[in-house]
Structure formats: C-alpha cells, structure tokens
C-alpha cells in the first residue's frame, strides 16, 4: 500500500488531498479531500480517461495535461467531468514545497509575452516595435480555421519585440510579441 499527499489549487483556493491505494484490489483508492474520505473505484480508459465510481456515482473523468511544460513542478491539468472543464494544479506536496521555494525568489518583471492561443497564421501586426499601447488595444491578428482573431494588449505598455512576419504559420504557444 502506498500513501501520498498532494496540494491542489483551483482558482484561488488550495486543497489538501491524500491518496491511498488498496492493498488487494486494483484500481480502488481511498482519497481524503479537505478532511473528507472518499472511496473511489477508478479504472483507466483509453486516452487518459478514468471511469470512476465514487460512492457508486458513475463519472467519466477526462484528464488533459497538454498544457504542462516538461517541468516536473508543472502540475497543471484540465479535468473534464460530465462536460464541465475544471482547470487546476495538482502537485505532490514535496514538489509543491520545492516550487513555492523557487517562486519566492523570482521577481516578476513588467514584461508580458503575447503568445498565440492556437495554431494558425499571423495575418498582420497592428503595432510596431517601440509603439506605446493601451490595455485592450489590438496587437496582432491571427487566423485559424477561417476566423480572424484579434489579440489585445492585456495592459498598458510599450511593444518591445515582434517575433515574426505576417504570413508565418504558428503553433499554439508561439511567442508573437512582447510588451513591457
């Protein structure tokens, strides 16, 4: 029998979770969440789906870790339950401590990186390097699936860099420009 502690963050809230597996039966877990213990019968399905019976209630839990970087301290998951997507971070408690320690020394600069939210094509930039922009101002237009999507400035600032020429195909997450 193995027992592990996790710290989870959903939105602003932190939750403590302890997982125990059953010593005899495969796929049976005892999970303590915020002080309450749940017996969970969880079976792995294809494509990172868990079929769970929680106090006999039947749920398909669909786990998506595509947003994770290859950093073991990145515990981001998008979890779909009955159609609803819950975005959360789930880390083993020692990893969480390591991460908190690392973050404490990191001073946020005023730099914001604008990345493409989806694969597509850069249609045109609406700003130039050195230009001052206001929050909400259009920065760049990315086309994906025949729709034009205008990305807007998340804050006031100055355009520090532009990454690529219009017409370039980009992946989701590709840096498009930097505002400081």
């Amino acid at each position: 029998m193995v027992k592990m502690k996790f710290v989870a963050i959903v939105g602003q809230q932190e939750h403590r979770v302890t997982v125990d597996d059953h010593d005899k039966e495969d796929g049976i877990y005892s999970v303590e969440l915020d002080g309450r213990v749940y017996r969970v019968d969880a079976k792995t399905m294809p494509s990172q789906v868990i079929s769970a019976l929680i106090e006999n209630k039947s749920y398909d839990i669909d786990l998506d870790d595509r947003d994770q970087s290859n950093d073991p301290l990145d515990g981001r998951l998008a979890v779909r339950v009955r159609g609803r997507v819950v975005r959360l971070e789930m880390l083993e408690h020692r990893r969480k401590k390591m991460k908190d320690a690392a973050t404490a020394h990191f001073v946020h600069s005023g730099t914001v990186q604008i990345t493409s939210p989806m694969p597509g094509k850069i249609l045109r930039y609406l700003v130039k390097v050195g230009q001052a922009v206001k929050k909400g101002e259009g920065l760049v237009v990315v086309e994906a699936m025949k729709m034009e999507n205008e990305l807007q400035a998340p804050k006031d600032g100055v355009v520090k860099a532009i990454s690529s020429a219009p017409g370039t195909a980009v992946d989701g997450g590709t840096l498009l420009l930097v505002i400081e």
């Binding site: 996790f6 989870a8 997982v19 999970v31 749920y59 819950v86 880390l91 699936m145 025949k146």
Partner: protein
Amino acid sequence: MAKTARKIKKILVANRGEIAVRVVRTCRDLGIESVAIYSDPDRKSLHVRFATVAYHVGKASPKDSYLNIDKIIDVAKKSGADAIHPGYGFLSENPDFADAVEAAGLWLIGPKSKSMEAMGTKTRARQVMIKAGVPVVPGTEDPVTDEDEAKVIARSMGFPIMLKAVAGGGGKGMRRVDREEDFASAFRMAQSEARNSFGNDEVYIEKFLNQPRHIEMQVLADMYGNVMAFVERECSVQRRHQKLIEESPSPFVDENMRKKMATVAKLAAKAVDYVGAGTIECLVDDQKNFYFMEMNTRLQVEHPITEMVTGLDLVAEQIAIAEGKSLLAKEFTEDFRGWSMEARVCAEDPARDFVPTPGKVTHLRAPGGPYIRTDTSIYSGSEITADYDPMIAKVISWGNTRDCARERLNRALMEFTLKGCTTNTMFLRQILAYKPFVDGAYDTGLIEKYFRKVPTWYKEEHKIVALLGAAIFNFEKEKRLFSQIRVGAKPTAPNQMSRWRATKPNWSF
C-alpha cells in the same frame, strides 16, 4: 418522380469534411460511384477513404485545391465523372465554376450560373427580390465603399446596423455595429474579412431589426419550373453570425405564417429561374413580419433537420433533379412529422473565448441510440487542422415533440466523446437547457444574452470529482516515476497515462 433519359453514374464531390462524406454516402446508397478530391492535409480524411476513387488537387490553401476550378474540372474529366456536387462553401455558389462545368460537358448538381449570379451579391439579390415583390430588410441598395460616407448613412438609418459583405455568406464578413464610435473599426474588419474570404471587399449596410429571428425556407425546384417549399428551419441560435443550433419546425411560426413564407420562398426561387435545392433566409421581427435576407444557392449545413421531419434525402433529391426528374406535387409545408434539432460541434473552447483548438483526435465515441444521427468526417486517429472551418461534426436528433428532440440532442451531446481537442459540446448543452431556448422564446441575441451574466462553467460536485480524479492520476504518475528511478530511469512507455512531453524550446530574442 417521373423517369428520365439521363442517368448519373459517377459524381465528383468538390468539397471536403462532413459534407463530402455526406454526399459520398448518398452516392453509395444510390449505386453511384464517387470521386473525392483532397488537399495535402486531407489525404487521410474520411471522404477520401469512403469515395470510390480519390485525386489530389493541391496544397492546404483553398485557392490551390478546393477553389482551383481548372484542376477540379481536369480531375472530373480524367476520372470519368459525369456530374459534380459542390457541397456548401468553396465553389458551391460560384457562377464561373458553374459555367466551367457546363463548358466541360459535365453536369453541375445545382442551379444555373445566372441564378447564382442573381443571388450571388447581396445588393444585386435585394434588387431582384424587390422587383419580384419579395419583402427585404431596409438598407442600402448598393455597396458602400467610403468609410465616412458609410458612417453618415449608418447614422441616418440609426444604430444598431449590420455591415454585410456584398459577396458574403455563412456569417463571414458580417458585423453588427451598436454605436457610432465602433463603426470605423467594424467597417475595416468587415472589409478585410470580406476580402480574405470572398476576394471582394465590398460591404453594404442593413438596418438591424428588433429581436430578429433567423428563419429560412428550404426549396427544391426542378427543370420544368416546379418549385416545392418545405417546413421552415429556425436558425436564430448564432454566435458571431455562425449558426450553432437549428431546429425544424420553428417554435415561433404558425401555420398561417408558414404558408405565407412558403409562397414568398417559391416566388423568390421562380424570380431567378432556380433549379435544385436552395434556401431563402429571412429575418423575422417580433411582429412575425419576415424579410428576405439572402438566398443560398446550394445545400445548407443544416439540411438534415429538414430530412428528419420529411423522411427525404435532399442529396438524392438534388441528384434526381440534375437527372431531369420532375418533382412530385407534394407539399412538405404540411406533410412533416415531429421535430428535429441539429447542433454544430466545433473544435473551439467556449471557456477561453472560443479559441480554435485544432489537434489530433486520439479517441472518438459518437453518440448512438434512438433518433440520433451524427454527420462527421473525423475518427479516432484523424487530424483536425487549422486550415479549415472549426465545425467537426453535426449531431442531429428527432422526436415526436420539441422537448423530446431537445432532450435527445442534449443526451447525444453528453455521449459525444472526443479526446485530443476541446469542443463546444458542453456549451451547446447549456444553450439547450437555457430557459429562453427551452421555452422557444429566443432570437438571434440569445447567445449574447446568455453571456451577459458570466456562465458558471462547473459546480461544486464537478470540482470535487475533478480533484479526486486528478489526485489519482498524479498518484499513479508518481508511483511510475518512483519505480523508474529504482530500476534505472527507463523512459516512460508511450500511451500510458503519463505523458511528460518534451515541448519545443521557446523562441527567444
């Protein structure tokens, strides 16, 4: 239908995605051979795998492939096709293509080029309809090109107004403007989208009606001037002028109004000597006045709901008309059964402002059971590329009553399971359960109204279950990592639950 001399034996389907699959299916049912065409990223698409033969036509960009008239005509000849079905979008409403098909000695399954031309630009269509006595939405008769001049017209008409691409269709190049200060940017965006989508940046201005509904009439017209109108389709559930959920009949239309709309629809079709399947889209105000908006001179995306309530196969009807058969004297404005709804499943994330979510489909389970139909071109293992429309499937339901069709559609969307990219199925289900929709008391402002108060994307129950699932998921991942360290850091096998993926290095400067 009456017998005729000509018989179509092989059809080239000049399209991709679900509509190409849809047409190939009917070809199979009728014992007609099908010719698929495909662009680079579509080689593995279902329409290629389902068709009798398939030909490569070019790169991802539509102008190199699905809009490449010369190439498509060439393939049609080479493959021995005798007719071409254009589907919707792409070349389906292009009169040059219709002429090219005719010049090549082939049959287009659709109207003549002159009917397309008459309906092809919105301003021209409005002029033709006014002449034929069909009521149109108040607006400019001609395109407006100068931004300042356009703003003056808009102001005199009174906001809100609609900017529409003259060459438009399918909601593209269309912008609603509520306030004068938004006019300039909207005008430029509409022009830009119009140019990119249709190669023509002309736009015109229409009055925006109060609480308008989008209700449309399906027509079929044969070569001998017979026109048949069908029970209406209600398509008011729209986001950014893209239809999301359609139903037939409309909960707003009574028998009297249906009769009137059918009469006008037939008038409109006859005014342009229409042949084939077409749709007259109308805007309807809260007083049940309806105005011609445009005629789509091809099959609509939402044609299945008309099939479900009439028992017809509209693609088979299109083919029969192209073969020269004459229509039965039957009125499908009265002879329809039950209620049908369609939901458009799109690869986009409603919780992140509907950002497109292309990706690889790692798992697909289509819904099933009574009175559910799924039209799609994706499958477990297929690729959803960013090159084309985000609509990846249509889920259609039927029921004896509206509530029954609605509950079945809701259930089917719950069953629809796709892994590999986020879809809008939950959003569609929320709309199906949203009171104005449940009551049938909605207009094209429904989605906007829904978003006026920020929707709750999940409840406490979902959060708890998500936490339990995520904890177990990571528990197993940690156990595996731990055992790997002990046996000597073997890489995790692929296709297990864990996926520590190497991402691309970030671009730096």
